[in-house]
Amino acid sequence: MRPQKRLQQLKARRYRGAILINRDTKLFTVGYTGKQGTFHSLQSKDYGTQFVGGVTPGKGGVMHEGHPVFNSTAECVDKTGADAAMIFVPPPFAADAIMECVDAEVPLIVAITEGIPINDMVKVKAAVQNSKSRLIGPNCPGLITPGECKIGIMPGHIHMPGRVGVISRSGTLTYEAVYQLTQREIGQSTCVGIGGDPVNGTNFIDVLKLFNADPDTDAVIMIGEIGGSAETDAAKWIQDNMKKPVVSFIAGASAPKGKRMGHAGAIISGGDDTAESKFRVLEECGICVARSPAELGQKVEEVLKQ
């Protein structure tokens, strides 16, 4: 079945908290036979994701850990009906792997790889914008719809099905937010890591739109960082369009100017991209701001009660 047709069918059927992925999603991994690719593919499968196989050029035709390996993405999609790709290819070859998925019209491409050259992503982004695919990442933990489907490297067991969406530029900070929601038995509808690079396939607003339209999401946590204007752009969009409460934290209030804080995107360059100025804009736009990352769960509980 063509992936596009499959996606349309999926959209027609509703599941709980189903933005982007759900129990019908069929996942394959590019870079499947590598150590990380194998480990996280099997982890996703153990979580309950329908994992159908993988791609490693030159190793096509064999079975690896019980699943078929193909030489090309097109062949994998054709033979398995997969509609989501998880990319574990090392940085020098990652742009090529994403482009191969775009060419095969894979509806959802999730690039986990950290350290892809920015100029590669500039070209890839332009190609993705004119394609039938959606790219999440790169340099991201992936995404998960608790209880249904996990695509990425996040620990599955800390999640719990619920009605709060999570969007974040950071991996482990997302786990922190998720953990707080689970401890309070609030749970999550879908959690999307959009990645810490300056050029990414999907931004905050793209995901906010999906949560806004999702009848199974009641509130959203948005976790941002210093650097760039993605959070302030999102804040303005939220003010004008969002029908659901949003709780937000921006990491890096204590970061010095001009130093890249791990993520390629997390660097204060102008004056408007500090945590303080982002907090200010978020508050002006009516967003519930958590100054401490330990307060996210509590703030969500508060906005849900209102």
Binding site: Q36, P91, P92, E114, I116, P117, I118, N119, D120, V122, K123, K125, A126, A127, P141, I153, M154, P155, I158, S168, S170, G171, T172, L173, Y175, E176, Y179, G196, P198, V199, I223, E225, I226, G228, S229, A230, D233, F249, A251, G252, A253, S254, A255, P256, G258, K259, R260, M261, G262, H263, A264, G265, A266, G270, G271, A275, R291, S292, P293, A294
Partner: protein, 390 residues
């Protein structure tokens, strides 16, 4: 990665971008010989450090004779140059760049960066050069002209003309500027730059377009395919601890505070610094151990943190995903034993293999303060750094 002005200009020359003749020197005699070889009657002696604002700090001087070149080089070499970008401690100057003088008609600005809003490589140009461009952007934003490049087409001459006319160039200078901009873009792409900034870009009385200064940064993620750029790295310009950390896959940045932080993930590492600050403490560093650290890397992280003599307490905050808690725990125990840890240690573990990790810490016999959650960990770390019992 950052390079010196003289290295940037050598690279620019390869791409047909017009720069003045110049030579680098490490002694005053060498500087004088360089000036002699370059010829002419005016030279500029420029301190080579990785920071802007050198002129204001006394690191750039004009010489009208060879003796003056020598005298300037003597005063600049070895000086501790303080600019708004070096911090109050300044930077020692080890090299000077001796460059030919030129007859400046007007100073402009041109830079290439990634515009994160559009995800496109974008030119910025201004008729106001030779000053801080951030100031121009703030006070007279209309004087900054932007033009982005379609990644599937690359540089097109109209982009150059658009910029050149907008900043007020005329006649032959426009053609020269277009060629200059094209060369700069070609270099930006070919060498995977993250910033290529020419401030000032000057037009001369003869109508030439020349780069007087150059600030080129390179995308660290792309250095794997540019050994020729990696070879330009000046390790004396970088923190030895940060370089040392990078060898182990650790991302480390030294800060002014007294609570050492060891965290996995950049976002959580920043979040940890933030919550320490909110609790009234002060982080001594940013340290992300990454997703694939082993026991040795964790040990290394500890030794780097402890090299900082300001550290009065250490807070370990791990949320295991890719990173497993037991690996961290083993590293913590090994480091605490081998380094004879004397400062209080607060550990918060959560996520993958957390039970095994906690058992390793408990069985180690070390004095470790276990914390329950992020808030508790930060509270305890701040109290410990203040010398309180936790």
């Amino acid at each position: 990665m950052n390079v010196h002005e003289y290295q940037a200009k050598e690279l620019m020359r390869e791409f047909g971008i017009s720069v003045l003749g110049g030579q680098v020197a490490t002694t005053a005699d060498e500087a004088m010989k360089a000036a002699e070889a370059l010829g002419g009657s005016v030279w500029v002696v420029k301190a080579q450090i990785h920071a802007g604002g050198r002129g204001k700090g006394g690191g750039v001087k004009i010489a009208k004779s060879l003796d003056e070149v020598k005298a300037h080089a003597e005063s600049i070499l070895g000086m501790n140059l303080i600019t708004h970008q070096t911090g109050p401690e300044g930077k020692e100057v080890g090299k000077v760049f001796v460059e030919q003088g030129c007859d400046i008609d007007h100073e402009y600005y041109v830079g290439i960066v990634l515009d994160r809003n559009t995800s496109k490589i974008t030119f910025m140009a201004s008729s106001e050069g030779g000053v801080e461009i951030e100031k121009v952007a703030e006070e007279t934003p209309e004087k900054i002209i932007k033009a982005s490049v379609d990644p599937s087409v690359g540089f097109s001459p109209y982009i150059g003309r658009k910029l050149a006319y907008a900043i007020g160039l005329k006649g032959d200078s426009v053609k020269k500027a277009v060629k200059f901009f094209e060369g700069l873009y070609n270099m930006y792409i070919a060498k995977d730059c993250s910033i290529a900034e020419i401030n000032p870009l000057v037009s001369t009385k003869d109508g030439d377009i020349i780069a007087l200064d150059a600030k080129i940064n390179f995308d660290d993620n792309a250095l794997m395919r540019h050994p020729e750029i990696e070879a330009l790295r000046d390790v004396t310009e970088e923190s030895s601890q940060e370089l040392d950390a990078a060898k182990y896959g650790l991302s480390y940045i030294s800060l002014d505070g007294n609570i050492g932080c060891l965290v996995n993930g950049a976002g959580l590492a920043m979040g940890t610094m933030d919550i320490i600050t909110l609790k009234g403490g002060s982080p001594a560093n940013f340290l992300d151990v990454g997703g694939s650290a082993n026991k040795e890397a964790v040990e290394k992280a500890f030794s780097i943190i402890l090299e900082d003599k300001n550290v009065k307490a250490i807070m370990v905050n791990i949320f295991g995903g890719i990173m497993k808690c037991d690996i961290i725990a083993e590293g913590v125990v090994a480091a605490a034993k081998s380094l004879e840890l004397k400062v209080p240690l607060v550990v918060r573990l959560e996520g993958t293999n957390v039970a095994i990790g906690k058992k390793i810490l408990n069985d180690s016999g070390l004095k470790i303060t276990a914390a329950d959650g992020l808030d508790d960990a930060a509270t305890k770390a701040v109290a410990a750094a203040e010398g309180k019992e936790v």
